[in-house]
């Protein structure tokens, strides 16, 4: 009936979301760090959008801009490539992260690059670029303060906009005291920030190359738009003689006129700022007579499964994402378990739909179920991605794979992996009961009479009763009561 059958409920599987969530939920400082940060971010975003009608118009515009760009994606990619070539930016294409890594390495080898400074880039996280370059003798230093902190700690980002949001200043103070020469332990945020500036200043000056991501690429002009607050992104793309930008193929927009509304959405949705301190628009390498800026700019376009996501018109909506992180800031699950619980580059709601599509449902099949489908993410998404519907679609692909429209095999990698005989039998039985009213009434009456005898230890009830009392079946169903009270049947 409504009992949510779940044959696998019970002890969390090793390495599962539930198991990692168990650890996070019992980590008091971690929970406090996230709760405080998410509450603050929600309040700041709300303050930025005081007028519901204005916000609705802006979101409609933002969604349409991204939808239009996706509708014309192959043409726009070619247009971007042509404009970049005219402007002197060299464009590379990579199907896989390995291919992208090798392209970057090839560029660096050609220029004898030894050290690299990096601006924040989620695509480079997707590529595990730092580790790859390290294995090949090139040191890549993260320069965004949050990324720098987690690089020192040897961790992954726990939020796509605020990578070290899981740490408090005490933890960061201890990390700096351990890793930065001459730095004493302090919890003073200004002092910690100054220490990072001191260390990284020299890294910027000596770097042979800079790496950055791209927030928006404008097909019309061949312009790469980067937003940031710290200035490390500008330094990484201005001071070294070589700049390599990496971006997913979905980051395109058609025209420069598309940028202002997206800029009106991105920082306000992300951190509740009216605008970031810097909006950096790069259209070419250093021109004749100019005194600074990189002499060469390369752009690496990465597929990494995005063409497969693109092949399905419903799943394609995932690719509208502008990586603001508002979905995680407003997610009641993310706020409690933090980013690392997702064990993925992209955590939170967007990660729950993106990761299984990129990595495969056989690898990340529990992510689409780590949601109460509360729609808080959908409500705040600046480009109106129907995250909850895509979560349900992925749950479906896990049990009933559909064929892909344009790539070989299933629409989603690893589809069908979630199918179990026990669960599909439960739903077959459920259908049989609920599609046959007479049977349903009989079953419901039986439950009213004897349902309370079901022991609390059976699987779905066992998980339910871990913190809740067993639901009590009423002695008579509403069907019976309605008839008793004389309500018409038709």
């Amino acid at each position: 009936m409504t009992v949510d059958a779940q044959p696998d409920a019970g002890a969390p599987k090793a390495g599962s979301f539930a198991e990692r969530a168990h650890l996070a939920l019992n980590d008091k400082p971690l929970r406090a760090n996230f709760r405080r940060a998410m509450d603050g971010l929600m309040a700041k975003r709300a303050a930025q959008f005081p007028d519901a009608a204005d916000l609705a118009a802006l979101r409609a515009r933002g969604a349409a801009i991204k939808e239009r760009a996706l509708a014309r994606l192959p043409d726009l990619l070619e247009q971007l490539e042509a404009r970049c070539a005219e402007n002197g930016i060299r464009v590379h294409w990579a199907e896989t992260t390995d291919e992208a890594n090798r392209i970057v390495l090839g560029i660096f080898r050609e220029h004898g690059v030894k050290t690299v400074v990096k601006g924040k880039s989620m695509v480079s996280e997707e590529m595990h670029l730092n580790a790859f370059l390290g294995e090949h003798g090139i040191q890549a230093i993260e320069s965004d303060l949050g990324e720098y902190i987690i690089q020192l700690a040897g961790e992954m980002p726990s939020h796509i906009v605020m990578p070290c949001i899981h740490k408090n200043k005490g933890q960061i103070g201890a990390l700096f005291a351990e890793h930065i020469e001459g730095q004493r332990y302090t919890e003073d945020v200004d002092e910690l920030t100054a220490a990072a500036r001191r260390v990284l200043r020299d890294r910027f000056a000596e770097a042979d190359a800079g790496i950055s991501g791209v927030n928006f690429a404008v097909a019309e002009t061949g312009t790469l738009v980067l937003v940031e607050n710290e200035g490390n992104g500008r330094l990484s793309t201005t001071l070294p003689p070589l700049h390599v930008a990496v971006m997913g193929i979905e980051k395109l927009v058609e025209t420069l006129d598309d940028i202002p509304p997206l800029l009106a959405l991105l920082p306000r949705s992300a951190t509740g700022q009216p605008i970031t301190t810097y909006v950096n628009m790069i259209t070419s390498p250093r021109c004749e007579g100019e005194k600074d800026g990189p002499r060469e700019v390369h752009l690496v376009l990465l597929d990494n499964g995005r063409t497969r996501v693109y092949a399905d018109p419903e799943l394609r909506e995932t690719l509208r994402c502008i990586r603001c992180g508002a979905c995680m800031n407003h997610c009641p699950v993310y706020a409690r378990v933090g980013g690392h619980t997702y064990d993925a580059v992209y955590p939170g709601p967007i990660g729950k739909i993106l990761t299984p599509q990129i990595a495969g449902l056989d690898v990340a099949g529990d992510l689409p179920h780590a949601s109460s489908l509360c729609n808080a993410c959908v409500e705040v998404c600046p480009v109106k991605i129907p995250i909850a519907d895509i979560l349900v679609r992925l749950r479906r692909e896990a049990v009933r794979p559909s064929a892909s429209n344009s790539v070989q095999g299933a629409a989603v990698k690893g589809a069908g992996d979630g199918w179990t005989l026990s669960e599909s039998s439960v739903w077959a039985g459920w259908k049989w009961l609920h599609a046959n009213p007479a049977l349903y009434r009989l079953g419901a009456r039986a439950l009213a009479l004897a349902g309370n005898l079901i022991p609390a230890g059976v699987p779905p009830l066992k998980a339910w009763t871990s913190v809740r009392s067993k639901p009590k079946f009423a002695p008579r169903t509403l069907h019976q009561l309605a008839r008793d009270k004389g309500f018409d049947d038709a």
């Binding site: 710290e230 200035g231 970031t276 301190t277 810097y278 070419s284 600074d292």
Partner: protein, 229 residues
């Protein structure tokens, strides 16, 4: 070297094989407008909210005002563009004064003096081509005469902006000034000093770029608001 053209062809052909989705019309959206008397107020309020300092100064007299502001901060060396009007005005006002901060022209490629530029100057003076009232933003359009790093490396960034170049919104600027047809190497929108909130959401300034942003709004005698727009 990998087979880049094969990769490109495969990516594009997969995208083209996918079922088409309709391209929706762009729904109406209007950036905010401000009337002339409130435009500068908005510009100033937004910048100040982001910890920038805003001073309205006489376009003929700004070097004197700047001198006071920088002296109060103990500034000793100021980098400026090479051959700009601003540079000339600074030179005329400060050049003969041995007590004034040292003026350093950005007249070489960065490689020739990276060490000094990274560590040795206290302030950089740039000329913004315009301002945006909605967000309290300066538009920097770097050129050979106005290199990019002047607004980024020194701990203090001084930006000059002519009052009548302040517009309502970025959308208005991009459209009305025809940016799409003439994008330069680099354009930067600056809305405050360098900042971070990566540690416990606590704002800290000057993490990589300038710790302070001083905006001088240049007012010209005889010009009125009507000149704007």
């Amino acid at each position: 070297m990998h087979d880049s053209s094969g990769t490109r062809a495969r990516i594009l052909s997969r995208l083209r094989a996918a079922p088409p989705s309709p391209a929706p019309a762009l729904p109406d959206w209007r950036a905010p407008r401000f009337d002339a008397p409130t435009r500068l107020d908005r510009f100033r309020t937004m910048l100040e909210a982001m910890k920038a300092e805003v001073h309205e100064v006489d376009a003929a007299d700004w070097p004197r005002r700047l001198r006071t502001l920088l002296d109060n901060r103990g500034v000793r060396a100021v980098v400026h563009g090479d051959g700009s009007d601003a540079a000339r005005q600074l030179g005329e006002a400060w050049g003969a004064d041995p007590q004034a901060p040292r003026l350093v022209a950005y007249d070489r490629a960065v490689e020739q003096w990276k060490g000094e530029l990274v560590h040795g100057v206290d302030a950089g003076v740039t000329l913004a081509i315009g301002g945006i009232a909605e967000t309290g933003t300066l538009i920097l359009w770097p050129t050979a005469a106005e290199p990019r790093l002047m607004s980024l490396l020194p701990p203090i960034h001084v930006a000059l902006v002519e009052e009548d170049t302040i517009r309502d919104s970025f959308a208005e600027v991009v459209r009305e000034q025809g940016w799409a047809g003439r994008m330069p190497t680099n354009v930067v929108l600056v809305s405050g000093p360098s900042k971070t909130a990566d540690i416990e959401q606590t704002l800290a300034f000057g993490v990589h770029g300038p710790k302070e942003l001083i905006v001088l709004v240049l007012k010209r005698a005889g010009r009125t608001y009507a000149a704007a727009g």
